[in-house]
Structures are given as structure tokens and as C-alpha cells.
């Protein structure tokens, strides 16, 4: 009985991965062929970009602040509080900015995509769209994916900037250290590979958030209860995959641009 359950779960997992791969590939490739729905892309960019800006800004600011608080306490033991700016900027730009932004946006947008598309599935609106001769993949999924990729790129820059600013605020107002020193260290220590690493990751995260959110939304079954289930699956899986892919991308980028 247990073996049967394991076998069935494994098969289910492989089938889901296969379905997801085909879904994500088709949604991506749709951008290179007509018809394209640019107004839909702009609407989604507004929802993802402008709509998520406040949470990304706040989480970035306070993460930078916490980093400055924690690092200053440790660095003071070695008399190296002067490098707080370097520590905060490199950590934010290379790692925390992209990952935190990805997870915050996944919580907000993967869930909304899954629930919106899921509701459309259970009320037959997706079937109605197909019956009216419109491809829901092109109309609903592809614009969401590209809006999410492009907006996550800019949101990550916002998170990085506000993270460094938050670190600066803590350094100046709570740790009573020198502000110009903090910001000059934060700037001087950055190298192009750090920035590349920080700006490549959101492209992957954006793709994961929208494709996972839409995937679970589009395969919703079981009425309103199914919509709730799809929403949970979308957020949980998108968050886990973002962290997993972040690890892989970091590994590859560190191999390409080894630290000095």
C-alpha cells in the first residue's frame, strides 16, 4: 500500500513537472509569434510593478536596516564597523535584494494570478475565451510572464536601493556612525559581477512567479475550493523554486565571475 502511494506520488510529480515545462515553454515562445497582446502586458506591468512597489520598498528598507544592525554588532568586535556599507550593499545587491523581492512578489502576484485564472477556469470563462477564438495562453499567460520578468528587474533595483538606504539610516541614526563613509564604502566595494549577479536573478524569479502562478491557475479543478488549493500551491511552489533557482544561478555566476 505504501509502495503504491509512493509510486503514485512520484508519477504525479513527474507528470506535473512535464506539464509545467511544456506550459512554461509554450508561454515563453508565444512572445515571438503573433498575435501579441501589448495592452494586456501594460495592465499586468502596472499590477505587478506599481502594485508591488510599496511592499518591495518597505521590505528592502528594513532588511537593509537589519543587516546594518546585525553586521555592526559583529564587525565592532573586530574594529571593522567602517565596512558596514560594503557588507550591506554587497549582501543586498547580490543576494537579499533579488531573493526577497522574488518572494514578496510571489506572495502577492503568484497568488493573485492563480486565483484569478483559477476563478476563470471554474466559471468556464477560459473555455468561453477559447470558444470565441482567443488563445488564453497568449492573452492571459504570456503577458503576465513578461510583465513579471520586466517588473521584477526594476523592483529588485528599488529593493537594493532602499536596502542600502535603510542600512544607511540605521548606521547614521542608531549606530551613530559616519554616513558618507557608509555610502562611499557601499559604492566603492561594488564590482560589475556583483551587479550582474543581482540583476540576472530577478529575470529567473519573474519567470518562475508568473509561470507557476498561471500554471496552477489554469489547471484548477474542483470549484472554489480548488481555487484556494491552486493559490496555496502557486505561492508555496513559486517561493521554493525561487530559492532553489537562486542557489543554482549563484553557483553558475560564481563559476563565471569568481570572487577576487
Amino acid at each position: 500500500m505504501a509502495t503504491y502511494t509512493i509510486e503514485r506520488t512520484a508519477k504525479q510529480l513527474v507528470l506535473t513537472m512535464q506539464d509545467y515545462s511544456l506550459f512554461a515553454y509554450r508561454a515563453f515562445m508565444n512572445l515571438f509569434t503573433e498575435p501579441r497582446y501589448w495592452p494586456e502586458y501594460l495592465v499586468q506591468s502596472d499590477i505587478v510593478g506599481y502594485g508591488s512597489a510599496s511592499i518591495v520598498l518597505l521590505s528592502g528598507f528594513f532588511t537593509g536596516g537589519v543587516l546594518a544592525l546585525q553586521s555592526a554588532a559583529t564587525l565592532s568586535q573586530f574594529g571593522a564597523t567602517a565596512v558596514t556599507g560594503q557588507f550591506v550593499s554587497i549582501t543586498m545587491i547580490r543576494e537579499l535584494g533579488p531573493v526577497l523581492t522574488g518572494i514578496m512578489v510571489a506572495g502577492r502576484n503568484a497568488s493573485s494570478m492563480a486565483s484569478e485564472l483559477g476563478s476563470m477556469v471554474v466559471t468556464e470563462q477560459i473555455d468561453a475565451m477559447r470558444a470565441l477564438g482567443v488563445d488564453p495562453m497568449r492573452k492571459l499567460v504570456t503577458p503576465r510572464i513578461f510583465a513579471c520578468i520586466s517588473m521584477l528587474f526594476f523592483l529588485t533595483i528599488v529593493a537594493d536601493a532602499f536596502g542600502i538606504l535603510g542600512g544607511g539610516a540605521v548606521t547614521v541614526f542608531l549606530n551613530h556612525q559616519d554616513g558618507p563613509q557608509y555610502f562611499s564604502k557601499a559604492w566603492e566595494s561594488l564590482r560589475y559581477p556583483d551587479i550582474i549577479q543581482g540583476l540576472v536573478k530577478p529575470l529567473f524569479s519573474g519567470y518562475i512567479i508568473a509561470s507557476v502562478g498561471c500554471f496552477y491557475g489554469m489547471r484548477t479543478t474542483g470549484g472554489t475550493q480548488g481555487v484556494g488549493r491552486a493559490t496555496i500551491q502557486a505561492v508555496v511552489n513559486a517561493s521554493v523554486i525561487i530559492i532553489l533557482v537562486d542557489f543554482l544561478v549563484t553557483r553558475v555566476l560564481l563559476a563565471l565571475f569568481p570572487p577576487l
Binding site: T123, Q125, D127, A131, L132, G133, V134, D135
Partner: protein, 279 residues
Amino acid sequence: MNESTASAQPIAAPAPDDTPVVTFRNVSIAFDGPPVLQDISFSVAPTETRILLGPAGVGKSVLLKLTNGLLRPDRGSILLFGEEISNMPEESLFPLRTRAGMVFQEGALFDSLTVRDNVAYQLIQERVPDDEIDRRVLKALRFVQLEETFSLYPSSLSGGMRRRVAIARAFIRKPELLLYDSPTGGLDPVTSTTIIELVMKERDVYQTPSILVTHRLQDAFTLCTHRFDADLNRMVSLPQGETDPNTTFLMLEEGRLIFDGSLHDLLHSENPFVREFLE
């Protein structure tokens, strides 16, 4: 069932050489379990209205979704407008589907769009000028007597109004085939009659072939025993004993097609399930 219905005789049969709009040949489909539909074969002639009867959960909606390729059969072949669609790629199906209108069970209107944008959905995709869209939407809404809902959202409409808007959306491009999925399900008798009158109007004024799924015998018999009078702008009874020759019946039982024929044949069927269903 009244006496005139029981003695109903078709007044003429559709021309035998007409190429069918829809043809099902030995179609079967299953979803992770026993087959939902088995070995289904029938066709819909041009100008013919086929009423698909059967109890709930027997596969009527599945059959309708197979007709325009929203679902794919496991076996058999389906011809829509003379083209084999059972293995046709989804991209090739979209242009075919635009030639067929479909009215879903609950209307399936897009929540985020106004009635105008719902009805004009296909026209907007085709980038038809706004003025022409407004004119055609108003005409379609006038057809279903809901002009006043032009700027409203579906959430502010009643169930019956949503079905009528869905009918307007299906009619707007003058489809070559109409698929109605229980258009009167869950509605009160007065609203149901209004919907059936609209179906009849489309059948008699535009001669559009259709498949209508229902489990309400009353609706099916009304369609057979009435015609739409364009001058009076309402439906009128056919003379005693006459039925619409282009309105015929299909009946499903446990995924199998157990009846295909006219109202007269249906009323005189010896099949015990048909008899039980009618009684």
C-alpha cells in the same frame, strides 16, 4: 405533454444531400475513469436544430465541448464545417471556433469587462472600429432586449440577463453554428420561455443550425411546436399536430446515444429509458 404534441408529425424533412455542419463518428471520451461518452455518432444538417436530452451528468456538456474542440475525443472522429478536428492543433482550431457561437451553462461572461466589451469580445480582438462595435453590440443587445445593460458589469445582472447577454455574445458575428449548453438551467419558467424564444428567433429568422443541451422537456417541446413570427416579434404555436421539421432530438443514457430522431419518433419510442424520461 399535450395531445397535439403527442400526435406530432414533422411537416417536411431536411434535404438529404445537405452537407452536415457537424458530424460525430464513433466518438468516445473518458476522464480518469469509466468512459463519459461511448461510440457516439450523429450529424447536424445545415438549418437543423438538434436538441440533446438526458439526465444530469450523462455527458451532454462534454459532447457539446467536443463539438468545437474544447475537448478532444479519445477515439473516433469529429467533423466541424467539414474539417476533421479531433487531432487538429489548437492554433488551427481558433479560426474554426470563431465560426461557431457557444452559450455556456452559466453564461461564462468575463467579470472584469462591461456587457458591451463582453458582447464585442470577438470584434475587439479583430480590431473592428469602435463606432461599428457600438452599433453591432446595440443591435445584438436589442435582439435579446437588453439594450439598457450596455455599460453594466455582469455582476449587476440577474442570472437570466447574463444568459441573454451570453446569447448576444454568441450571435454577434452571425455564427454558422450555435451551441447552447443548458441555456435555461436553473431559471424560472418565465425567463426560460424568454430564452427559448430567443433560441427560436435565431433558428427561424437566421436559419442557424444548432445543438441545444437541455434536460427540460418543456423547453424541447416548445421549440418543436412553435415558430418565431418576425412580424409579431414573438413565438406562435404551429398548427395542431405540426412540428418544426428541422428540430430533432438526441438522447443520451450513461454515455451512449440511445435515440436520434424527430419528436414523433421520440414520442413513439419503445426504448424503456426514453419512455421513463418522457413520463
